[in-house]
């Protein structure tokens, strides 16, 4: 039936348009997870039975008077409007709240879902966490365990399957919302750690979603590894503090507009890291994104060399080079993990870096191509920047950053080109975003795998970033 296909399409699109204040139920199966609206009638919550079954098999329904006949995978069930009893393939069942028939659509109460679905689907494996409106069909439950390390403070969340939560950071906490994952807690909903940086992780669930909240005194950052099965929570490093200023003159000076310690007649103040705003928490200066990874190999540079692996090698070399020069850098993907473009952008944006560098490698051409974003057509409304053109406000800084990196590479005798490129996730980043595509400087692809070449490229890129460090720092 065509309308059943349209209903399926609506089910797929519905999560994108559901409002936060609407009641929802999420159904988890081994094939898929989906969310439906819950209708309230006479103080009871109802959901469309056809809509629940649509993604699970072949389903159709007909109405005759007050009788609603459901056919699922060749088996018939019969419900009556206003009646608590129903006839299903397994047996006759008694529902705690009567069935409702409205405009040809059959609704069962949430309370009745487990026995109804168990009978219609012919399975005993129906678990309903009713308070949170989360329904699990079959062996789908996903669990997690925690592993806390000190020095530096790090919390590892290990999941039994790959996850892709929505991550939101705010002062003192990082929230991970699991919209599609059938996550359930262990015995403890809240675990505390005797650590100021990361103090606790707690589980909660409501309105069809599960959430893990990590609290701490420092800004927290999440990174994925182990093909999406591990999330590591860590604190952003402290920026290297400049040496204490010389003893101040006896005459009071006016407070400068730049973020420098203000000289006074008092003893020298404690040296503070440069910051455009007083009290701004320290963050990674650069986020380095080794492109591709996991199931996404990138270019097959040779039978043994995959682009994803070389991207990671270059990103690590660049991170080391920057850190050796006192610039904090985070390698976004520090393992062979699969990350989507949206995940990369979200993670990088949550780190609020001064600059983002995506690392690619290629067998084509010579030297390094340095790209800034070529933005698509999109309209931003009001104070909110459209996702597709999030880079727009900082594009004017991304371009000279690309130029500075080109200049740095040329000092290291690397042939370069500077271009714009329609390349995600550059356009989704709120920090100046650059992509570098590294090709060998000779006819040998193996050069890409040499430590000397990697170090030379890293040195050139780092030099370019450092040349604009103050400007990038003051802009974030």
């Amino acid at each position: 039936m065509r309308w059943s296909r349209l209903a399926c399409l609506a089910l797929v699109l519905l999560p994108a348009v559901l409002r936060a204040d609407e009641k929802r139920i999420t159904i988890y199966t081994s094939q898929t997870s989906y969310t439906l609206l819950v209708q309230e009638r006479s103080g009871q919550d109802f959901v469309g039975l056809l809509e629940i079954l649509e993604p699970l098999g072949s389903v159709s329904a007909t109405t005759q008077g007050r009788t609603w006949r459901l056919r699922f995978n060749g088996h018939n069930s019969e419900f009556t409007d206003g009646a608590s009893s129903a006839h299903t393939p397994e047996n006759d069942i008694n529902m705690p709240v009567p069935f409702r028939l409205e405009n040809g659509r059959g609704f069962v109460s949430l309370t009745a879902l487990p026995p109804v679905l168990s009978s219609v689907l012919g399975t005993k494996k129906v678990i309903f966490r009713e308070a949170a409106r989360r329904l699990f069909l079959g062996n789908v439950i996903l669990r997690y365990s925690t592993d806390f390390n000190r020095s530096p403070s790090r919390l590892l969340l290990n999941f039994t399957a790959a996850v892709s939560p929505r991550i939101a950071t705010e002062p003192g906490r990082l929230r991970m919302t699991f919209l599609r994952e059938p996550l359930v807690p262990g015995s403890n909903l809240t675990q505390t750690f005797d650590d100021r940086a990361i103090s606790s992780v707690s589980y909660s669930e409501a309105n069809g979603t599960a959430e893990l909240t990590v609290t701490g005194a420092s800004p927290l950052f999440a990174s994925f590894s182990n093909e999406g099965r591990t999330i590591t929570l860590s604190t952003a490093p402290q920026a290297k503090e400049p040496p204490a200023p010389a003893p101040p003159p006896t005459v009071p000076q006016p407070v400068p507009t730049q973020a420098q310690p203000a000289p006074t007649t008092m003893p020298p103040p404690a040296a503070a890291a440069p910051s455009p705003l007083p009290g701004t928490p320290h963050r990674y200066f650069a986020v380095l994104d080794a492109s591709h990874g996991g199931t996404e190999r990138g270019e097959a540079l040779s039978p043994t060399l995959a682009e994803k692996d070389l991207n990671l090698a270059f990103a690590r070399a660049l991170a080391q080079e920057l850190q050796s020069k006192g610039v904090s850098a985070l390698v976004l993907r520090d393992s062979d993990a699969t990350l989507t473009l949206d995940q990369r952008a979200a993670l990088a944006n949550s780190a609020h870096p001064a600059v983002y560098i995506a690392v690619h490698t290629s067998s084509q051409g010579r030297g390094v191509r340095v790209f800034h974003a070529l933005l698509p057509s999109a309209v931003s409304r009001g104070a909110f920047q459209a996702w597709e053109v999030a880079q727009a406000p900082v594009l004017a800084l991304a371009q000279p950053t690309a130029g500075s990196i080109v200049a740095g590479l040329r000092k290291h005798d690397v042939p370069t080109m500077e271009l714009a490129a329609p390349l995600r996730p550059l356009n989704n980043l709120i920090a100046p975003a650059i992509a570098i595509e590294i090709a060998p400087n000779s006819s040998s692809i193996e050069e890409l795998n040499s430590a000397a070449y990697q170090q030379n490229i890293a040195a050139g890129v780092a030099e370019g970033i450092l040349a604009l460090r103050d400007r990038l720092e003051s802009a974030r």
């Binding site: 010579r366 698509p376 271009l419």
Partner: protein
Amino acid sequence: MLVAVLGLTAYLWQFKRTAARLPIAPDSAHVAPPATGPSEQVTLYVAYDSPPALYARAGTIPLSSGRQERAEGVLRALLAAYTEPEAPHPLPAGSEVRNVFLVDPGLAVVDLNSTLANSHRSGILTEELTVASIVQTLAANVPGITRVKILVDGQERETLAGHADLTAFYDVGNVQRMVEEMKPPQ
């Protein structure tokens, strides 16, 4: 006569049922350029890999008079240049433009075949050259096109071959600026 009509009806009904059950095979038939039509002067923006650049090349090809057919014709001529031996920007054999749809105002939707995308060389610059040459060639030969959307086998695809973004609409002016920025390697 009645028996014949009933028999034919039953046959057609059975035929329709069978056809509805059969999976729809992807249309793999080659789409050939029009064999006839007045020859016209066109400008193809041909990509070169080394050094990477786009060059405007004048040519004469048979074209139909309709805007849509014209768009398809110039793009097929462009792809033919990339699938010849010694092509300056080689694309996989069998790369084709399935359709071009013109949606007013100013949008061209280019449907490429999966052979082109699935076997395209992977890399930011090489994919960008392909996209830019398609956009520039369309804009130069079909007046009024301001934006281009690229599909593969009728579907939206995240990237061409792992890099160039295909989820967005390409603004002709932006692509023009990108092409002008292509400088020879230092």
